[in-house]
Symmetry: C2
Subunit: 289 residues, 2 copies
DNA sequence: ATCTTTTCAGTAGCATAATTACAGGAATTC
DNA sequence: GAATTCCTGTAATTATGCTACTGAAAAGAT
């Protein structure tokens, strides 16, 4: 993770303050300390109040803002408000050996929410619409994925039949090949891959396409697989591949699956809804209380 | 949705503006219109600029702020910043028949992020720590779940072995019974259920407990299942059970799984990490680019 | 160790932005 | 049709954020 990333305008300002704390001037550090101690207190504070709380002069507060990369005190307050809106009261997204479960919890939830936000801002809604069109028109759908993406495929396979579209999920290499080569026109293959460069998944895309089926890619990175799909939905996330960093990509992918299944359902015959209601009732009957 | 809820201080300010739009003065409505049209534009705008854009006088802008329940223009900007941090550019969380894919996308991502935030603020970190303790000490782990919770179970089963803990995931009713009754002391069963009242999952919890194994519950609602677990992690979400509302609960549950697996991994022998690094390398080799 | 240079933090003043007081005008009511 | 109420803009006021400058402290050089 590069240095310029840390000063990125979209980075959580509290995170920036925490990281830069040590490199700051002595007086600026006083400001940083009181802010990190109780960030929400400064949402409605003026420069004068902030200066008083930190026991420094007002220009020092302004200089502090400049030092952490804000264009002024106003800008700082704005970014503080945004940071606090995402909930994060002074959490640090990098996991440390010393972190207890509670801290790990805070950091991972922070990270997940931030990443989802990131993915949302980057997705291309036009290709998404294209994908919905294709799925609405599909006679059948097959989902393909390995590992974490296999989980996403299975999840999709659970959701789509609810709306009257027969579909399957293939997570085994051999099953994938068999299923892909037995597809045909009118059917849609959804290939799911975080890296987009796993060799076998590319082969699957080609196989399916060879039968006349359409191929939609749910891919986490700009990658070779994209060229082998009719429509590619890029789901960009903050996934750094450190050992302890959990894979956020599948969360984003699952949310996209929600979007697709919901959008498709809304486009199809409303009669489906009554059938779903009936099914939900049956599920309820399985429960004791 | 009660009236006092709509003017709640924690409510999304854009939502408030949208709802109150019709009840406003004529000039105020002009202000509301330009803000709703492009909210982010006003993050760094002054009163004078806002007034100019809306073609009204500066005091009107101030009066508009007061009308929608803000204590001033500053306060308004702050709340606008928070609203935009959660991304929601004038979306309405309820899905409408007429919504296109792009709108569905916005709404579902909004909803997912908000719900995750909700879950984060409500989870009990002490029981989470308990669960981590139990998992760290476990000789083996079994995950149980049906349907969407089955997906979560499988995901967990993929993650935990990375850190040297043998485990399995059971999503089939018969397999679940067999596996649960063959557990024993030192082992941990993790039962996953959104409702917490599915009859068979309660039986599984009892079966596992009968063998001397510990039972951890990942449950979405206060429910009967809780009484059958040694430790219960309640994951509260905004899940309303409308037909078109996607199940956010599994996303929250997956994130909790991330937390658990990460926290457990950090507590175990660091030697594991080198083994994981080696494994990741092998995975990389499977890729073409 | 002393002088020079550089960095740092505070005082004072300035410019801009938010707010309030007031007054003319439109809409509503009687 | 007159009176009242409610809007909305002009002008003045206040407070807030920001800049220029100066003295002090720290770092470096001779």
């Amino acid at each position: 993770m590069s240095a310029e990333f840390m000063t990125d305008a979209h980075q959580n300002i509290l995170e920036i303050v925490r990281v830069m704390q040590d490199t700051l001037r002595k007086s600026d550090r006083k400001v940083a300390a009181v802010i990190l101690a109780d960030p929400s207190r400064f949402l409605s504070a003026t420069v004068a109040e902030t200066a008083m709380i930190a026991n420094v002069s007002q220009p020092t507060v302004i200089r502090f803002c400049a030092a952490i990369g804000c264009s002024g005190f106003q800008d700082f307050r704005l970014r503080l408000a945004q940071a606090l809106a995402l909930g994060t009261p002074a959490t640090h997204s990098v996991l440390l050996e010393s972190d207890g479960p509670a801290t790990v919890f805070d950091k991972i939830f922070d990270y997940t929410i931030t990443s989802l936000d990131w993915a949302r801002n980057r997705i291309d809604k036009e290709t998404l619409s294209h994908a919905v069109e294709m799925l609405v028109a599909a006679k059948g759908i097959e989902f393909f994925g390995f590992g974490a993406s296999g989980i996403v495929a299975q999840d999709a396979q659970q959701k789509f039949p609810l709306f009257g579209i027969p579909c399957g999920a293939q997570t085994d290499a051999h099953q994938q090949i068999m299923t892909a080569s037995l597809m045909g026109p009118g059917q849609v293959a959804v290939v799911i891959s975080n890296t987009g460069s796993t060799r076998s998944i590319i082969e699957i895309a080609d196989l399916a396409r060879g039968t006349g089926a359409k191929v939609i890619g749910l891919i986490g990175n700009t990658s070779p697989l994209m060229a082998h799909c009719d429509v590619t939905i890029l789901i960009e996330t903050l996934d750094n591949t450190d050992v302890y960093t959990p894979t956020i990509s599948r969360i984003a992918a699952l949310t996209v699956i929600d979007v697709l299944s919901t959008a498709v359902a809304m486009r199809r015959d409303p009669a489906q809804r009554t059938r779903i209601a009936a099914m939900k009732q049956q599920l309820r009957d399985l429960r004791s209380a």
